[in-house]
Amino acid sequence: SGGSAASEGPKPLDELVVGFAQVGAESGWRTANTKDIQASFEEAGIELKFSDAQQKQENQIKAIRSYIQQQVDVIAFSPVVETGWDAVLNEAKAAGIPVVLTDRAVDSQDDSLYVSFLGSDFVKEGEKAGQWVLDEYADATEPVKIIQLEGTTGAAPAIDRAEGFADVISANPNLQVVASQTGDFTRAGGKQVTEALLKSNPDVDLIYAHNDDMGLGAIEAIEAAGMEPGVDIKIVTVDAVHDGMQALADGKINFIVECSPLLGKQLIDIVKQINDGETPEKRIITEETTFTQDEAIEALPDRQY
């Protein structure tokens, strides 16, 4: 077999081997992502070698090295972190194995190291959330107090979603982020932080959470404080996992920016293109949308995750 696939012309699909190095299974989102990819490959009849890096870059590097050694046809991976991939990607390039990035980008200067990057744009997600807030409070005359529930400190989605949001809302000086605290992307974190912040900022108007789970935690805290989530305090989140959509449909969340984990179909397409000797697009942004309550009620019945 080997990386010379491109030069030898297309292989039958059942002879293709793709190595996929996943970040880990740190969240429901990630698990949905893994499941979708595995299912898609099974459906397409392409062999998938899968490894779980347990959130460690070094494990991912090891996995990629081992794929190179096993001479797979394509390597796909979701980088744990954006930086530090040049060495191993160069090895892949030298071995003639095309690399596809999913979900997160690498910041390499040399963009010949990978064939394509398939994934969401976290900054844009933050901007979408900010835009909704901007529109919602377009004619606010008093300051609007916002609490931001950040993701894990240092994680790329957390940084980018904060940045996009901040950029957009800066257009209206009335929109003030009065507190910004990390909830580690978890429900428990979201709940505890909100609980404490509600004590010191009882008059907050809106909560922006970097993922649904923290938003769901915030809902618990708001209810425990005797207020009504979605009404007394508005909530905007990112992800659109099932529980979040349910809460949106119930009116406890006001707006969700989608960040889809379903990358499997698109990844298969890219693999097929490579196999056929075509050049896939360098940057493929996941098809994503946003949801309001009505849209959520409509979309909920056929949500897969």
């Binding site: 990630r30 429900r187 428990a188 404490a196 010191s200 769901l216 935690g217 618990e220």
Partner: protein, 347 residues
């Protein structure tokens, strides 16, 4: 003066002072900190939050105290908490009637029983095979979280079951259930170890295992009991944590809680070298840690500085608690007294 000196020489003096300092900081940042109001017949306020959120850590720390007293350590508590939450939620989800009390009772019972098995497993590795505790429990720490994720298939299992939710966020006579459970666990542990000879045996095995063996203490059985109890505590904490958000998150439930629990035990004055332990100290330690977390939120310490702040507090408590510092203090006091005496003599 002498009572003050006596208090100051107690191991718990500085942790308590630290707790008060943290309270004071909170009070400055947020004047309503000490307010406790009754809302719908339930106590409500920052202090109540601290107690409620600190309950899981405290419960685990109680079990951890006993393990540490035997010269052991249990790193697997977080994983055990995750497993028990996952088990309970998946049972509730799988039942036709998630809201019924019976379902929840079954779920809780099964979760606790499984934790007993896990505890016996740890005890087996430590006591029967003689594997060093840190490694023995590291195995369950790693594999256990895998098991929890296997149960939930990596998803967050959200349950809609009021009786289960009650466990985490309910109130009884105005007091949060979690706090009541913690108080019961704490009380039982104190009662069982101090009213029977168990406490003495645990300490004795922790201080000198061979001498204890020769004196007829059954160290092996004791280790089994202690690790099992610790796992049980972890499971109870796991149930509370899970019920708190009514969702089992195999990835994050109890993540790093072993460090918090160990920290609580040590701040409370129990030595990791085993031997004498203080459950009361552990209580204070757990409160310090939870108050620290709350302080970060109320004071609005930016997330990037949180860790540094935590490091500073832990360091300060440790340094103040140190016998070296105590000596320096008493030397200083003696010199002061001496000077005062001389002053009197001179005049």
């Amino acid at each position: 003066m002498s009572t003050l000196a006596k208090m100051a020489s107690s191991r718990l003096f500085w942790p308590v002072v630290m707790l008060l300092v943290l309270f004071a900081i909170n009070l400055v940042a947020f004047p309503g900190f000490f307010e406790i109001t009754v809302r719908d017949g339930q106590l409500f306020g920052s202090l109540i939050d601290i107690l409620r959120n600190g309950a899981p850590t405290l419960i685990i720390a109680v079990g951890m105290t006993l393990v540490i007293a035997t010269r052991g350590i249990d790193l697997s508590v977080g994983a055990v908490a995750a497993i028990s939450g996952a088990v309970a939620c998946s049972i509730i989800l799988g039942s036709p009637d998630p809201g019924s009390l019976a379902t929840v009772a079954v779920a809780i019972t099964v979760a606790l029983l499984i934790s007993l098995v896990l505890g016996v497993w740890n005890g087996f590795l430590v006591a029967a095979l003689g594997i060093q505790p840190i490694i023995a429990t590291l195995i369950l720490m790693t594999a256990g979280r895998g098991v929890a994720m296997l149960i939930t298939e990596g998803q967050i299992l959200t349950v809609n079951s009021p009786p289960f939710k009650f466990l985490g966020s309910g109130f009884w006579l105005g007091v949060p259930i979690a706090v009541i459970i913690a108080a019961v666990v704490f009380g039982l542990a104190a009662l069982i170890t101090r009213r029977t000879a168990l406490g003495m045996f645990i300490e004795s095995v922790g201080i000198n295992p061979e001498a204890s063996r020769q004196a007829g203490v059954r160290a092996r059985g004791l280790l089994f009991a202690v690790y099992t109890f610790c796992a049980l505590c972890a499971a109870i904490a796991g149930l509370i944590l899970t019920a708190n958000t009514a969702a089992a998150d195999a990835n994050n439930t109890g993540l790093f809680i072993e460090l918090d629990a160990i920290l609580a035990v040590v701040i409370g004055g129990t030595s990791l070298a085993g031997g004498r332990y203080s459950l009361l100290g552990t209580l204070v330690g757990a409160l310090v840690i939870q108050t620290l977390v709350t302080t970060v939120y109320t004071v609005g310490i930016p997330p990037i500085a949180t860790m540094v702040f935590k490091a500073a507090v832990v360091t300060v408590v440790c340094l103040l608690q140190s016998p070296t510092t105590a000596e320096a203090f008493s030397g200083f006091r003696r010199r002061l007294a001496l000077r005062a005496e001389k002053g009197v003599a001179a005049s």
